[in-house]
Symmetry: C2
Subunit: 405 residues, 2 copies
C-alpha cells in the first residue's frame, strides 16, 4: 500500500482524487501495489463530499506521518507551497506538483534536495498540462543537443487568438467571452501578459539546456496589443498570430522570449488552436518533433500529476530526474536576435513605399482593401536592434509583430 497526501482540494486536487478513483485498478497494476489517498490538506471543509473524512487543516499531520510516502502539491503559488514541499522532501517524501511558479522559482533547490535524499521531485503537469513533455525531455530526447524549444504554452491566450482569427472579433470582446466561459480569469493578466507562458518556458528550457533559466531574465510581451486588423494582415500572408514562448540557441548564444509571433503553415504550431497547447522541440539530429494536447483543464492536468505519482511510487529509492545545474544560463539580448518583422504603417502605400525601401531595404508589402489609411509590410531578416534603429526613422508606425517564416 502506497499512501499519498494531496495538498489543495481545488480544481487540480479534486481532479487527482477523481483520476485515482476512476483508474484505481489500472494505476495499482502499473505501480505493483495499491495506492491510497490518506490525507487531503485544505483550509476548507467539504461536508457534502466523501473526501471530507480525509481532510486535514494542518500540514504537520501529513509531514509527521511516516506512512505518507508521496505528497502531491496542487495549491499553486509559491507560499506556503514552497515551505511545505521543502519540508516534505527533507522528510524523505517524494513530491509531485503542477505548480509552475514553484518550479520556476525554486526548482533547482528542490531537485537538489530530492537528489540528495534519493527520492523524487516531479512536475510533469507544470508545463503543458496533460501533454507529456518534461519526462520525454528527461528520458527520450537524450541523444540530441536541443537547439530550440518553442511552445504555445498558454491555453487562454491561444483560445483568444484562435477565436479572433475565426470570427474577426476584437480582443476585448473575445476576452470577455472567455471570462464568461471560465477559460480566462477575472484578472487575466498572468495569461494575457505572458507571465504564465514565461514561467513554463523557463522550466522547459532549464531541462532542455541543463542550466537554470531565470524566468525574470526572459523578455516577455503579452497579446493585449494584438488587434483584429493585425489578424487580417496575418491572414493575407497565410499566417496566424500565436503567443510563442521560445528559447533557442543561435551561434552558441541562447535567446528566450515570450511574444506574439506570425507563423505560417510551415510550422506545426500553426494548427494548434483553441485551448490546446503545442510544444515544438528541435534537436540537432532529430530535427523537429512536436507534442500536442490539452494544456490545462482539471482531468488532463490531473492525469499528468498522477503519472508522476506512479513514477515516484515505482522509484521510491531512485532519483529519476536529471534536473539542471544551478549555474544560470546567461541569455543573449533580444536586440541581437534576428527575425523578420511585420510592420503596420499609417498613410498611403504609394507615398511611403520608396522611403520604406530606402530605410528597410526590400520588403514584402500588402494593402488590404478593407483597411483604410494604412498598409503593412514584412522586412527581411535583421537583428532587432537594427529594426528598432530603422523604425525610429518613422513616426507613422502603428505596430510591429515578429515573424518566423
Amino acid at each position: 500500500m502506497i499512501q499519498i497526501a494531496v495538498l489543495g482540494y481545488g480544481t487540480v486536487g479534486s481532479g487527482v482524487v477523481e483520476v485515482i478513483n476512476t483508474n484505481h485498478e489500472l494505476i495499482n497494476k502499473k505501480i505493483g501495489e495499491e495506492i491510497q489517498v490518506k490525507y487531503v490538506l485544505d483550509l476548507r471543509d467539504f461536508p457534502e463530499d466523501p473526501i471530507q473524512e480525509k481532510i486535514v487543516h494542518d500540514f504537520q499531520v501529513i509531514l509527521q506521518d511516516p506512512e505518507v510516502k508521496i505528497v502531491v502539491e496542487v495549491m499553486g503559488g509559491t507560499e506556503p507551497a514552497y515551505t511545505f514541499v521543502k519540508q516534505a522532501l527533507e522528510q524523505g517524501k517524494s513530491v509531485c506538483t503542477s505548480n509552475k511558479e514553484l518550479v520556476a522559482k525554486h526548482g533547482v533547490e528542490l531537485l537538489e534536495i530530492a537528489r540528495q535524499k534519493n527520492i523524487n521531485f516531479l512536475f510533469e503537469a507544470s508545463c503543458g498540462g496533460g501533454i507529456p513533455i518534461i519526462r520525454p525531455l528527461n528520458t527520450s530526447l537524450t541523444a540530441d543537443e536541443i537547439e530550440e524549444i518553442t511552445g504555445i504554452l498558454n491555453g487562454t491566450t491561444n483560445y483568444i487568438l484562435s477565436k479572433m482569427a475565426a470570427d474577426g472579433s476584437d480582443l476585448e470582446v473575445v476576452l470577455k467571452e472567455a471570462q464568461e466561459k471560465g477559460y480566462a480569469e477575472r484578472n487575466p493578466s498572468a495569461d494575457v501578459d505572458g507571465w504564465d507562458a514565461c514561467r513554463k518556458i523557463a522550466i522547459l528550457s532549464s531541462i532542455a539546456f541543463g542550466h537554470h533559466v531565470d524566468y525574470q531574465d526572459i523578455y516577455t510581451e503579452g497579446i493585449m496589443k494584438i488587434t483584429s486588423t493585425d489578424i487580417r494582415y496575418a491572414k493575407a500572408w497565410g499566417a496566424n498570430i500565436k503567443l510563442l514562448a521560445s528559447c533557442r540557441k543561435v551561434e552558441n548564444q541562447y535567446y528566450a522570449m515570450v511574444t506574439p509571433v506570425m507563423i505560417n503553415s510551415n510550422s506545426p504550431l500553426y494548427s494548434v488552436n483553441e485551448v490546446y497547447n503545442g510544444i515544438l522541440v528541435h534537436g540537432n539530429v532529430l530535427g523537429d518533433t512536436m507534442f500536442y494536447g490539452s494544456g490545462a483543464g482539471k482531468l488532463p492536468t490531473a492525469s499528468a500529476v498522477v503519472s508522476d505519482v506512479i513514477d515516484a511510487a515505482k522509484h521510491q529509492d531512485t532519483n529519476v530526474m536529471s534536473g539542471w545545474s544551478s549555474q544560470k544560463l546567461e541569455l543573449g539580448k533580444i536586440s541581437d536576435l534576428e527575425n523578420r518583422f511585420f510592420v503596420r504603417m499609417s498613410g498611403s502605400f504609394t507615398e511611403n513605399l520608396s522611403r520604406v525601401e530606402e530605410v528597410f531595404g526590400q520588403v514584402d508589402a500588402k494593402v488590404l482593401a478593407e483597411v483604410n489609411g494604412e498598409f503593412g509590410f514584412i522586412t527581411e531578416k535583421m537583428k532587432e536592434a537594427e529594426y528598432l534603429e530603422k523604425a525610429a526613422e518613422f513616426n507613422n508606425i502603428l505596430g510591429m509583430i515578429r515573424v518566423r517564416f
Copy 2:
C-alpha cells in the same frame, strides 16, 4: 566505459555511429560514463570508411565478448535479426532495435527474456522513427486507460497523399516521383499496401492495451485505390485522405485497422503532411494528445535508437519496459465497427438521390463541377456490415472511403 556493438551498417546503422560521434560528450554526460562502438557487424567491408577497423563479419565475436553490454540491431527483417537478438539477450546483453518486423513478430518473447535477465529490450525507433512514443506510452501516459491510438505511421504514403492533395496529381505519377527522390522503395508494396503501418500499430497497441496484438489479425488496406478524384471530393468537404493505422476500444471491444480515412481539421492528424508522422493517443482522463515528427530518415531514426542505448546504459541491472502480456488481444470484426462512409456513385445525382436516400437514409451529397457522370455522398454513422448490405443494392458504386468526422 560502455562498449556497444551495432548489427548492420546500412542507413540506420551508419546513422547510429554518426549520432554517437556527433553528440559524444553530451551522450557520455547523460550516461555518466563514456560510450564506445566496439564492433559493427556487416557482411560488407567499408575500406574507405574509418568504421572499417570495427567491422566484423561473424556475430560470435560480439556474442562472446563480455565487454559488449549493449547490442544495437538495425539490420531489419526477422532473420538473422531474431536469432542474433535472442542470443544476445540470453547472453545478458541489452538490445536496442529499430526493427518493426522483429518487434511485431517476436516482441513478447524477447521482452520476456529481457525481463528474466533483468536487462532491456528497447525499440523506440520501431514506430514513428524519431518521434518519442514507445517510452511515453510506457512511462508517461500511465494514469490513463488508453481508449484509442491512431497514427499516420508511414511517411511514404503520407508523402504521396499530401502531394496528390497539393498538386492534384494521380497516384502513379506521385509514386514514381517519390521513388526517384528515394522516399519510396522500388518495390513499394510494404508502404503503399499498408503492411509497414500495420506492424507499427500492432506494436503501439500491444503497449497501449497491455496484450499482444497480432499484426496478422489487423484489417489492412493500402492507398493504391485512392484517385485524384477521391481527393477532389475530400477537399470539397474540407477534408484530407490519410492512411490511418488505428486501434480503438468501443464498448469493451477492440478494433484495429489500417485504411485510408477522410479526416477534417477537427483532427490534429489533418495537418500532418509530407513525410511527417503523427500519433494521436486518447486517454480516458487525458483526452487527446498527439506526438509529431520525422517518422523515418537516417538521423531521426538513429536519434531514437541512441536514446534507447542511453536508457539501456543507465539501467544495466533494471528492466524498464512494462511490455505486454502474451495473451492475445482478441480484436472485434471490422464489420461491427461504426463509421461514416464516403461513397462515389456513377450516374446522375438527381436520378439516383431518392434511391440513395431510400437505402442509406439521410446523406450529405455533393456534385463536383469538374467531375462528370458521377456524384459523391457521405452516409450517417453505421456499422460496416450495414453499409456493405446497403451498398450491395447498388451496381453503380465506384468507391468507398471511411470517414471520421
